[in-house]
């Protein structure tokens, strides 16, 4: 499992670059992760990221787009606008969580 320097801190990541330790993340690191993938994080980004962080521990898996929409209340269109291209993976990355496993 590689360790990489992000924002001057050593961070454990998997081979793809997703963070592997829930507790290594804080919002300062989140902002840095966003910057690394070209995202300027707004309040709406943060609302989504905080939902993902809150949802993860009890379920042990990252919310899918569907769950972020039905449970978190974020319209799917907005998620595509906030995290363009591959929203589910980008949201998970910036929130310091694994890629979602669910199919929908």
């Amino acid at each position: 499992m590689p360790t990489t320097l992000i924002g001057g801190r050593p961070i454990d990541v998997n081979d793809e670059g997703f963070l592997v330790a829930y507790d290594q993340w804080d919002e300062k690191l989140g902002a840095e992760l966003g910057r690394l993938i070209g995202l300027e994080l707004t309040d709406r980004h943060w609302a989504v990221l905080r939902f993902l962080r809150m949802d993860y521990p009890a379920r042990g898996e990252t919310a899918t787009l569907r769950r972020a929409s039905t449970v978190g209340g974020f319209p799917i269109k907005e998620l595509f606008a906030l995290f363009p291209g591959k929203p589910a993976k980008k949201m998970a990355y910036v929130a310091g969580l694994p890629k979602p496993k669910g199919c929908v």
Binding site: P2, I6, L65
Partner: protein, 193 residues
């Protein structure tokens, strides 16, 4: 776990495809969208045959892939308003039918022909799907449209079934001919369900 020294230099960042992943809206606006394109042909109207195409379409859109679904023949039930909520699963002709509660219990092929069996098998399958928090067919179609996916209806099936456009799910882009389909699918990867 082996402990490795932090990588010096550029951090390890997942590959999100960069410029190849335009917003669905941008991909729509562009004449020649960059990146991958997928066309899924949905030709069956059974409940268990509706899901594979819809689930794959949903996954593709989430990955920034331009996605089109083409509904033809029995697949029309998936986008016909009066039928889409009532797709059925039948055991008839299906040799892969097992009960999760008793996987080894043999199920005679003829059992599927007993009146009420299709209704029962359908409601069991619906429950299994709902337990996995998978949306219903109309909900999944709505989500696909919301994500920028395109739904196309086959002209020949439309005429054969004597339907009106008002009979179709609102998210359907248009009724198109086989020739239109050739234009649509140019350069695309095709999945036939």
């Amino acid at each position: 776990m082996t402990i490795t020294e932090p990588t010096v230099g550029a951090p390890i960042v997942p590959d999100f495809g960069g410029e190849d992943c335009p917003l669905p809206a941008e991909a729509e606006a562009s004449e020649t969208p960059a990146g991958r394109k997928l066309v899924i042909i949905c030709s069956k109207g059974n409940l268990d045959m509706a899901y594979p195409g819809l689930i794959l379409a949903n996954a593709a859109l989430g990955e920034g892939i331009e996605t089109h679904l083409f509904f033809t023949f029995w697949g029309f039930d998936i986008i016909t308003k009066s039928r889409m909520e009532d797709l059925k699963f039948t055991m008839l002709g299906n040799t892969a039918m097992h009960l999760t509660q008793a996987p080894k219990l043999p199920i005679p092929a003829l059992a599927g022909a007993i009146p009420g069996m299709t209704k029962m098998a359908t409601s069991m399958m619906r429950k299994q799907i709902a337990d996995l928090e998978i949306p219903t067919v109309p909900e999944l179609l709505e989500q696909i449209v919301e994500m920028g996916g395109h739904l196309w209806a086959c002209r020949m099936s439309f005429d054969m079934m004597q339907l009106n456009e008002a009979d179709l799910f609102e998210g359907v882009d248009a009724v198109i001919s086989a020739t239109d389909f050739m234009d649509l699918s140019e350069g695309a990867q095709i999945i036939f369900v």
